[in-house]
Symmetry: C2
Subunit: 187 residues, 2 copies
């Protein structure tokens, strides 16, 4: 129970419920849970190219020859990459920074995989899409990267910020509405 | 209570609570509520230019000489106009369509104030911003208007659709992520 309660979102009561569940299930099922936990720590590591989580290095995306190797989409974390992959829209490569610039939390450029991104640029990269989060840290990181990438002859783009699709103008917050007006696109 | 219960979002229990509240307050307060209801029905009407709700025709926005009279922002309803006004970003004029195209609900172009919009264009309009809702009906209406506006020599723009400001990439829905990637902007 003490071990389970260390996990995020699991308080003492849930830990107790989980512990009793583990006691109740057949030994084999409990052991396969233990094995999965061992496995993930042994096998899953970071891709040495894009810093995505992977069992094999380089990761499946970096290895995939059918993907557009001239485009890199820069994201903060591996789960952002997963969210983008689920859209089935993007066919280029990724680069996971491992976070965003946040001086208050003591996270500076050296704590992110920025040098590794710059090292990848000479490999025929034509476009870098900055897909850091649309919040303060993400925007600051995007601006910092734009400045760094300026000397290179590549197109640097930022994912669109605006009204979420399927929503209602009336319920959008003011910052989003302001951005949607500023970034309006010609039809 | 029967009259109160006719209002949206007010069920029989709330109607009862409101009725007892009205019985309890001083006569003057109750009468001023009644007067306000009478007033709004007598005084508030549609602006004959932009179809915003107003007490005076033309409305305060259409009358305001300090606003940019070369830009019209097209919205579905008057509450969308209010949302945009709250951002304090937009200084042009508006045009309220009175809804969006919706064949299933029997709402066609003739049910919206589209002819009146076209009539306003010769008055030195340089840009029409289509700010209909980012949902199916709103997008269809924007596409229809773009087609109608093409013969005129004016710039037609659409409010940006993309990631809401302050949010997290991971929590964006797939349609919004797809749009954010497609509409990425050069930095």
């Amino acid at each position: 129970m003490d071990e389970l309660a260390k996990m995020p979102g699991i308080g003492p009561k849930t830990a107790q419920r989980l512990a009793f569940y583990i006691l109740k299930i057949p030994a084999q099922e409990a052991l396969s849970l233990a094995a999965a936990i061992q496995d993930v720590k042994e096998k899953v590591r970071y891709c040495s190219t894009c810093f995505n989580l992977t069992e094999e290095d380089p990761c499946a995306i970096c290895r995939d020859a059918t993907r557009d190797s001239a485009t890199i989409c820069v994201v903060e974390e591996a789960n952002d990459l997963l969210a983008l992959e689920k859209t089935n829209e993007y066919r280029g490569l990724y680069h996971v920074l491992g976070g965003a610039l946040s001086p208050l939390d003591g996270i500076g450029p050296d704590d992110l995989h920025i040098d590794e991104l710059l090292d990848r640029l000479p490999q025929g990269i034509e476009e870098v899409i900055l897909a850091t989060n649309p919040n303060v840290e993400g925007e600051a990181t995007a601006l910092y990267l734009r400045k760094l990438l300026k000397p290179f002859e590549i197109s640097v783009t930022r994912v669109a910020r605006g009204l979420p699709v399927g929503g209602d103008l009336e319920y959008a917050d003011q910052a989003t509405l302001t951005r949607a007006l500023e970034d309006r696109v010609a039809l």
